[in-house]
Each structure stands twice: as C-alpha cells, then as structure tokens.
Amino acid sequence: MISIQHAQVGYQTTLIDIAQLALPAGQIYALIGRNGSGKSTLLQTLIGQLPLRAGSISLGAFSLGELQKNAALRSTQVSYVASMFAGVEALTLHAYVSLGRVPHLGAFGRMQATDLQFVDEVLRVLNLSDLAHKETRKLSDGERQLASLARAIVQDTPFMVLDEPASFLDYFNRELLLDQLQQWVQQKPERTAVFSSHDIDLCLQKGIPMLVLHQHKLTLLTKPTKQEVMALL
C-alpha cells in the first residue's frame, strides 16, 4: 500500500501536485505520461532519492522521510530498476544479480547457499541462466534490462519501482516482464510495484491499473479504457 497526502513533487519547482491517493497492495501500477511530464521525477521521489517539497508519502508502515534517513532500512523496503544499466567490466550477470542480496548479507558480504538458490531460480524464470557467466558489458541492452529486474526481485522488498523497465525489450520479453511483475506482487500480501511505460496498448490489454500524469496532476484509473487515457494525456 502506497499512500500519498498533499504531496508536492519536483526539484526546484513543484512539478506534480497530488492531493490524495492510495495505491492498494497486491497490484502493479503503470505510470503513464508524456515526455517531460515528470515520470522519472515521481519515481525518484518514491524511492527516497528526491525529497518531497511538501506533504507526505508512505510506503507500507514507513514514511518516505524515515526511509530517506535510513539507507539500510530503505534497502529492505524498496528496490529500484533504473531505465539503463550500462554494465561493468569483469562483473558477470550472475554477480550483478547477486548484488540484489547485499541488504540481506552479513558484514563480509558472503552469499549463503539459500541466497545463491534464490538467484539461480530468478535467473531461470527470466530465461537468463545461460547468460549467467557472461560479462554484463557484453550483454545486449535488453538482456541487461532483464538482469536489472532480476536484481530487484532478489532484493525481496515489499515495494518495487521501475523506470521504463521494458524500453529495450522485445515483444516477448515485454510480456514476460509484465507477467513476472504481476506474479511478484501476488506472492506476498504487502507487495506493490510502480513502473513507468509508454506501452499503453500492452498495459490496457493486460488490464493493469494506470497512474496518468497530466497537467501536474496524477490520476488513478483502476480499469482504464483507451478513450479515458487518451482524454487525459
């Protein structure tokens, strides 16, 4: 459950003004909006990277303010998939995905057998097992994007925020990503995911609730139709 109260979001000026909004758990939400409407800014706010200008937002039991102050707590509550991961020299896909376990590891950062099992399982579900030992720099953009999703899944948080997680994916992997996200939120009762997307048709087809950003406002459409969305954009 994400609840928003009179929140003003933005860097120097208020870009988005949200009076009141509650996003019940157990769902994924597609954040839709035109270029420059502030999708990334809102997502940066939700992960605690950008402070609110006014008002409050809470993720489950914690307010954004609390999460901002405590990076360790935050890392167990919200995971983030950036729109682009360029890859790192000598870092294999398996090692990259394993970094998602960092918040759960002891002082020396050693992976236990259960951690490794978890990583292997997620790689298998996302069809990445064959690439496990490939260097992340040598993967394709789409493969790296799926790897980022895998990394967020193994972080095992109640909240997941994704910034255009499908921009480099082919048709089949876009479906895979949405199906996996939908499965993910249903695995545990408190889970909620918000992702930004330009792929309105696919989201409509999957019946995903939409958060539409338009004229500095955010509107939740629980059962959106194309006409409704287009009228708002």
Partner: protein, 315 residues
C-alpha cells in the same frame, strides 16, 4: 569461476614464497657473508619492505579505482604520493631536527596523502572524464614539486641530498627498527579493508545504486580515503614514491580473476603486488654488479607500457 580464482590465489601465494626465498638467496650471495646480524638487520627489512610496499600500494590502487569508479585511478597518477612527498619535504626542511622521528615522519606523509586524495576526489566530481582528471593529477604533482624546489633552495645541502635520495624511491631505506611499524600499519590497512568488502562490491554499480542497496556510502568513501592515505602515505614515507604498482596490479587482478568480488580482488591484489615488487627487487639485485637501478625505473619500464595498453584498450 570461483575455483579458478582460488587456484590463482594459491599459485600467486606459492610464487610469492618462491620469490621471497630467491630474494633472500640472491641478497645473501651478494653480501658474501652469512651472519645472523646481516640477515636480520639487512636482508629481512629489505624483503619486508618490498612485500609490504607491493601489497599496500596495489591495495590502495584497488580502493581508489573503486572510489573514483575508474580503472585508471591510482595513488601515483592522482598525486597522492605527491601530497605525502610535499608534507615530508616541509617536515625535513622546515622543522627542527629534534621533531624528526618515526611518528612525525609517518603522520606528515599520511596527512599529505589524505589531503591530496580528498582534493582529487572533490575535483573528480567536477570533471567529466578521466583524461582531465589525470592531467589535473599531473598538474598537482608538478605544483607540489615546484613548492618542494622552492623549499629546497632554502635548505642545507645535506637536507637536499636526503630528500633527493628519498624521492628516487628505494626498498633499502627501511631499517630493522622501522620494519615492525610499517608491517603493523600495512597489515592494519589490509585487515580493515576486509570489513569494507560488501560496500566495495555494491559501489561497483555507482554511488546512487550502492545507496539504494543500503550501503552507507558516505562512511564508505571516508573509510576508503582514510585507508588509502594510511597505506600510500606510510609506504611513501618509508620507501619514497613508487610508481605504477597501484595502478597496474589491480587492473591485472581484475583481468585475471574476471570478477568484481572485492574479497578475492583484495587478496589477489595484495599477493600480486608483493610478488611484483619482490620480483623487481630480485632483478635489481641481479643487475647490481653491472648497473644500479632505482626501483622506480624498473616499475616504470614494466608498468608504464601496461598502463598505456590499458588506456588504449579503454577507447
């Protein structure tokens, strides 16, 4: 993958033992005498000096490359040695000889190294590419060099000579009495780095990402700067500025181990750095009858082309 790393760790450990034995053997041949006194007062400190300097410099290079998120970072190219060098010059030339002791020497070098590292880190946030950063590092080094020259013009010839020898970099300056100090500092530096492994691993993805994974990034950055200054500063104090080890060995480690797991990288860099400097010193000892080379000449002959190759490959 893991097995390969462990094999490499074990073989580098064995190579290090072999090289250390060769070092002791060659030095003994050269001395011609076989006495306990020479062994403990001369041979062991020189070997320890190579072991510790190699380990510490390559570890501080690994840490800096992690902090700057750039494989071309290192204590020498970014002017960390120059900072230590400047502070030591100020100490030697500007302070009454009564204050010249172990403690003041090492703490001056460490302060200089820490200030230089912090300065370069702040600068690195403002420049976009590594080329500019390396040029600034170079400028910083010539700037501190110029100040040293100015200071030297006021100094007595004896002090200037002392500084000149120190600046050449040498593994023979450390005395038997100093060896335990240097060993303690370097081993402490290595041990404390082991507590940073988790953060270092996450930092590979960048600061924002590491923060998202719950790493206390600010504390980590300060710890890296502090340990780097401790290692590079103390080694510079005891052995003078030694180039290229800190830059080349961590890159070699990553290329060989093909991993970003910093536990493995730390252990291998430490072993490989020691191997490298001990091997170089063996070479110096073997060549000694014909020509006496300062350690920096050999590290540069081997290290500089490798670093140039790395830069070319980066493009």
């Amino acid at each position: 993958m893991k097995q390969r790393s462990i094999q490499l760790l074990i073989s580098s450990g064995m190579l290090l033992l072999l090289l250390s034995w060769a070092h002791l053997f060659v030095l003994q041949q050269e001395q011609g005498a076989n006495s306990n006194l020479i062994f403990w007062e001369f041979q062991v400190p020189r070997l320890l000096s190579a072991l510790l300097a190699g380990a510490g410099l390559s570890l501080s290079g690994l840490l800096m490359q992690n902090l700057f998120q750039n494989p071309m970072a290192g204590p020498y190219v970014l002017g960390i040695n120059s900072g230590a060098s400047l502070f030591i010059s100020i100490l030697i030339l500007g302070v009454a000889p009564t204050f010249l002791n172990e403690f003041s020497y090492v703490s001056a070098a460490m302060t200089g190294a820490f200030l230089a590292a912090s300065f370069m880190f702040v600068v690195s946030k403002r420049v976009q590419n590594i080329q500019s950063l390396l040029v600034i590092g170079l400028m910083f080094a010539s700037f501190t060099g110029a100040i040293e020259s100015v200071l030297q013009s006021f100094a007595a010839p004896e002090q200037v000579k002392q500084l000149f020898i120190w600046n050449m970099g040498s593994l023979q300056q450390m005395s038997a009495a100093q060896a335990p100090w240097m060993a303690t500092i370097v081993l402490f530096g290595i041990a404390s780095t082991l507590f940073l492994v988790k953060g270092l691993n996450a930092m590979v993805l960048g600061e924002a990402h590491a923060l998202q994974l719950g790493v206390k990034v600010k504390l980590l950055k300060i710890s890296i700067l502090f340990v780097t200054a401790l290692l590079a500063g103390s080694i510079t104090a005891y052995c003078g500025p030694i180039a290229f080890v800190g830059l080349a060995i961590p890159n070699l480690s990553r290329a060989l181990l093909k991993t970003q797991d910093h536990l493995l990288l730390i252990l291998f860099s430490v072993l490989a750095g020691s191997c490298f400097l001990v091997a170089i010193d063996v070479l110096i000892l073997l060549l000694d009858p014909w020509l006496s080379l300062p350690v920096n000449v050999l590290t540069a002959v081997i290290g500089a082309p490798y670093v140039a190759y790395l830069m070319l490959r980066q493009r």
